[in-house]
């Protein structure tokens, strides 16, 4: 069981921002921290790791107190049983893949390292240096390295955000597999709802430095978002006039869609504007994509 109760005031670019988080997470659980940028997700992760210090509060993991402002306890990151995967991976450029993974492994754990390299499909790359690896390979090294320390808590700071969709999906499978294999309590920061559904049992929804909602992915996303209306966020790319209608090209995710707009609607739109595209009573067709 991981108990978190933390307060920290952050001095950002604008006004001071207060982060106040209270949560309990079951051991062995895969939990996602979900929320918009700037809601304090990464800072929370860094405070759990001991890289940043809260102003007050408490962190206890499986009965061991890692931080307690009142009792003056603050374990350094070295003494916290954590694995941390950074957004930029933070691989050591001067060490080979194997040396990176072995960096934190307990002495005489060559078999664990072999297994991790095997599980992350890095065995054939183990003598390579990180600057020569692709994004997905770097990500797997970072993950294997974090797990090699045998942590009780694995912290993942948007490790998949820089990967393309297909690779991302494969990495999600790998993550799920490693989670099951080592039974690690895992905290993942993510912006991606699909990822949250695929991986996590519990979601902490963060907004403005607080946990706005806690629950399963179903409870958080489906119950509040289900409506009979199809509602998409889009950006206007171009507007052109053809015969008697206006054609507006919209960017939805990575897809470009043309829709028709009346003169009145088009008059108010400019390329670069953000719009909401709504359609009522659609009967949608679903096709499974081959990845």
């Amino acid at each position: 069981m991981i108990e978190i109760a933390l307060v920290k005031t952050l001095q950002g670019d604008g006004a001071p921002f207060r982060l106040e988080v209270q949560a309990k997470v079951d051991s062995g659980c895969f939990v996602t921290l979900f929320g918009p940028s700037g809601s304090g997700k990464t800072t929370l992760l860094r405070m759990l790791a001991g890289i940043e210090w809260p102003d007050s509060g408490k962190i206890a993991v499986d009965g061991v107190t890692w931080f307690d402002a009142e009792r003056g306890i603050n374990l350094p990151p070295q003494e916290r049983a954590i694995g941390f995967v950074f957004q930029d991976y933070a691989l050591f450029p001067n060490l080979t893949v194997r040396q990176n993974v072995a960096y934190a492994a307990p002495k005489g754990e060559a078999r664990l390292i072999d297994e991790l390299l095997e599980l992350t499909a890095l065995s054939s790359l183990q003598q390579r240096l990180p600057p020569t690896l692709s994004g997905g390979q770097k990500q797997r090294v970072a993950l294997a390295r974090a797990i090699a320390r045998k942590p009780s808590l694995l912290l993942l700071d948007e490790p998949l955000s820089a990967l393309d969709t297909a690779l991302r999906s494969r990495m999600q499978d790998d993550l799920a597999h490693l989670h099951r294999r080592f039974g690690l309590t895992t905290l993942l920061v993510s912006h991606d709802i699909g990822e949250v559904f695929k991986l996590s049992r519990q979601v902490l929804l963060m907004e403005d430095g607080r946990i706005a909602q806690m629950g399963t992915p179903d409870e958080i996303f489906l119950r509040r978002r289900l409506s009979s209306k199809l509602n998409l966020h889009a950006q206007v790319l171009a507007i052109r006039r053809e015969d008697v209608v206006n054609i507006v090209s919209l960017l939805i995710g990575q897809e470009i869609v043309d829709v028709i707009a009346s003169d009145q609607e088009a008059a108010d739109l400019h390329p670069g504007d953000f719009v909401e595209l709504a359609s009522k009573a659609v009967s949608a067709l679903l096709f499974k994509k081959k990845m």
Binding site: A49, G50, I51, P76, P77, Q78, E79, R80, I82, G83, F84, F86, D88, A90, F92, P93, N94, L95, Y103, A104, L129, P131, T132, R145, A146, R149
Partner: protein
Amino acid sequence: MNLDWQPLLLTFRLAASVTAILLFIGIPLAYWIAHSRARFKPIVETLVSMPLVLPPSVLGFYLLLAFSPQHAFGQWLEQWLHVRLIFSFAGLVVGSVIFSLPFMVQPVQAGFQGLPRSLLDASRTLGKSDLFTLFRVLLPNIKPALLSGAVLSFAHTVGEFGVILMIGGNIPGVTRVASIAIYDEVESLNYAAANFHAMVLFCLTFGIVLALHLLNRKWAKAGPR
């Protein structure tokens, strides 16, 4: 012609000692400047870079006063440590270390600051001490900066004149380094001897700086470190 190698050998002994000492002092100092958030950090940074702008004679003059046994610090050194820094090789080393400090600290500091902060954080989360991280991760990744610092300090010490003349004088075999010897030979119109010293210094310095550029180019080609 009888070639006098003594000033040249003395110069290189001085430059080698200064570079070795600066590696010991400069790396921790650069690390501290790169990572510290102390309020008085700008003062330390300013003091370190002062020798870049200060006329060497000014620095030499104050070092002369400080090291002189007639003043408190010099007296203390002589009484307690039995060292006299004035007109001695040890004094030249101390003076040169101070004078060449920015040439070591600044490249190394820039090297540390150019590394992603997450490397240190990652190593901490992997259970390693900062000292272990320094030797295993940080220093190996700033090799070009370390080499620049060492070469610049060495070359700068070789070319030093003002500070040395002030605190060392011109004692053959003790403080008469090549740059002083050149000045001295020119003063006595002995141009051939001056030319010998000058030519050796010129060629050697050219060789060292050229080697630095070639090595840096090789490392840059080897990929981002």
